[in-house]
Symmetry: C2
Subunit: 410 residues, 2 copies
């Protein structure tokens, strides 16, 4: 049998990153390549306690079909938190031009995938930061959309290139449907978009009637520096979708996220979600609701921030002590990732391969290119998954491989 | 802001069924319109017990990211059960022509949606039984595929029409990519495809290199009659995808299903799932695994069958006693639904509206038309959701509305 695969899936090749992830099942390999939250960040006892209570008192609600939009008390709790923490949530009743509504999704990635499905025909374009999150890029491609990168600077994307790209598109094919951004603690680039650039991006989006998808999975994981307002909080016109999840603050395995945006768009996302998985699993929606409303989520997040502050500090110390000065890396104020740019003349693919040979898995920057033939001389490190000892040892390996390759250049 | 919605989602209108479902939140309405498993079928105590054990002994596994393919022990348990109960699972090692593999999905509907995404470009055609399951039809449409119905007879689809449709397509545009079937306890039509028709369908599929998606969510809910082999069990050539779930045998709210098929196709489904929700929630995968391997799932299903045998019997009795003889309805041997065809001259939409006015919600047959402009003079009843008293009362209402409408014809 010769299978005829859809063009969109036929083009979606298992990436290099997949091969590296396979290597992670080898316990002798140090994983700087993953993006898992630290296991010690899961509030196991509290979750076990609430779950037992749900099974004792509301089992049928947890085990029966629920609403596609999500468990109503959780939607309400998310809205309340988004309003308080991020000034998000417009309503006509309060005098705004439009209503925001929230859809509970099965992890943040589903919110990203649904947004593209609702907005893009096959062949339409999604603009992204270059580099961008591989899971989002492939979600867009799996819907037949074309991903196009806007260069990412230290303070966010190049807004001049954004504007000229949009101007050309609007005067021509008019195929750009969405701008996908991770403004805070960017994955993989580690940077945070400045307030000034956020304002400029929003202004351009309004000018060109462009929907922005603001992805903020790491937004609550700040362990240094000052908070910067979300783009969604500036959204007077109703063109921003805001996506986040409980994966990094409660548990990744439970697959509970949320996406908030203008009601008219969200109604279409609800229809698209209904035919994917009907609704997100009920028990974990109830668990999130109970945790947010009855327990100290802020205190719990403070504890997680302390873990990552320490782990990131360890990695910074290890990189400072081991990496030659010609290797440039970001100094994160939050999130999970460090982005390291190799000096000229060091082959990135070779660097990644030599690290793996030395039992350290890191991710090649090419995995994050919006253009599938894009090049990169950067690599991504993660500090949330490895143990303290692994962080220290991994940095030593990085230094050894770096010097070995620099020496062979001479 | 004027949103530009993708063609596929713009065309996907909230259906009449959605309005009817909204009415179900009114507790005074009797719900013959739902498809929920009976609440008393959930093994609450055992699930609570296993969950407590998982939180005590393997919490990190339950709360951390898992593999897209699914929790390996559950995949293995599903494969074992499929082999034993349904003779499903080819392997080259055993001498078959190809390997089947299993992907755990977030409810059966995700398996349906992913199959279409992997096989269909926008504008490609999925053949379906006419009528067919609304959740599947909309999943196909949400990917831009066109649904085309093959008339359903008492023993399955009309295989002559199937063959002539395929012959015309293959000689022309060659756009038919998949045949979607619910051969056992069909939703909504209530019928089961005969062994003879199953064999004929498979033969035609081989002749025209057509992928079959066999959806079997109700397969284990037989309470009368003889088992009929699945189409997948006949699949020597590797063209059948087989989809089912734990929703009707353990819990619908936990969103755990599975899809099994030829490895080459399944690899693409894994990639497509990865960018939708990364993986299915871990805890419930572990729960399903423990239930299947350590507890008496067969005994539990026997208990569920007894519930539905009784409830279906109650509905048959109520319909026999109340409905005029000119109303024809199926007598299910399993599953959750009864399909009732109204006599000539009775307007189906009016019948549904009058029932709702009398506090009984039923589903109009038009909701299940593969052709969006299709017509129907049938309606669907469900007996798993309403209580015994509601089944009896609902049948009385049906009889009253039926006689009222017949009388007004005179």
């Amino acid at each position: 049998m010769e299978y005829r695969i859809s063009n969109k899936l036929a083009a979606l090749k298992p990436s290099a990153i997949r091969e590296i992830f396979k290597s992670l099942s080898d316990p002798s390999i140090i994983a700087f390549a993953a993006g898992n939250p630290a296991a010690e960040s899961f509030p196991v006892e509290v979750l076990a306690e609430i779950t037992a209570d749900i099974f004792a008192n509301e089992p049928v609600k947890a085990l029966q079909y629920g609403q596609t939009e999500g468990y109503p008390p959780l939607r309400e709790a998310v809205n309340k938190r988004l309003a308080e923490k991020f000034s998000i949530g417009c309503s006509v009743e309060k005098g705004d031009k439009y209503n925001d509504t929230t859809l509970i999704v099965s992890g943040g990635n589903q919110g990203i995938e649904l947004s593209c499905k609702v907005l893009c025909n096959e062949g339409d374009i999604v603009l992204c930061e270059d580099p961008s999150f591989i899971g989002a890029l492939n979600a867009f491609r799996s819907n037949g959309a074309i991903t196009k990168g806007i260069p990412l600077r230290d303070d966010g994307i190049d807004t001049e290139i954004l504007e000229s790209t949009l101007a050309a598109d609007r005067a021509g094919e008019n195929k750009i449907k969405m701008l996908y951004l991770i403004p805070t603690f960017h994955n993989p680039a580690g940077i945070t978009t400045s307030l000034e650039v956020r304002k400029k991006i929003y202004e351009i989006a309004v000018k060109y009637s462009l929907v922005i998808l603001e992805d903020n999975p790491y937004g609550e994981l700040r362990f240094a520096g000052e908070e910067i307002p979300t783009i969604k909080s500036m959204d007077t016109e109703g063109l921003v979708l805001y996506c986040s999840s409980f994966s990094k603050v409660l548990s990744a395995g439970m697959r509970v996220g949320y996406i908030t945006g203008p009601e008219k768009l969200m109604q279409k996302l609800v229809v698209a979600k209904q035919v994917e998985d009907v609704h997100t699993n009920q028990l974990f929606q109830m668990l999130c609701h109970r945790f947010v409303t009855e327990r100290d989520l802020d205190g719990h997040i403070e504890m997680i921030r302390a873990i990552y502050r320490r782990k990131c500090g360890l990695m910074m110390k290890g990189l400072d002590e081991n990496l030659p000065k010609s290797f440039k890396f970001t100094r994160p104020e939050g999130g999970l990732f460090v982005w390291c740019t190799l000096p000229d003349g060091i082959d990135m693919t070779e660097f990644v391969a030599r690290c793996l040979k030395n039992k350290l898995a890191i991710v090649p920057g090419t995995a994050f290119c919006p253009d599938e033939n894009g090049t990169s001389n950067s690599v991504r490190f993660n500090y949330s998954t490895p143990s303290d000892e692994q962080i220290e040892r991994g940095c030593v390996i990085l230094g050894e491989v770096a010097r070995e390759m620099l020496d062979s250049q001479l």
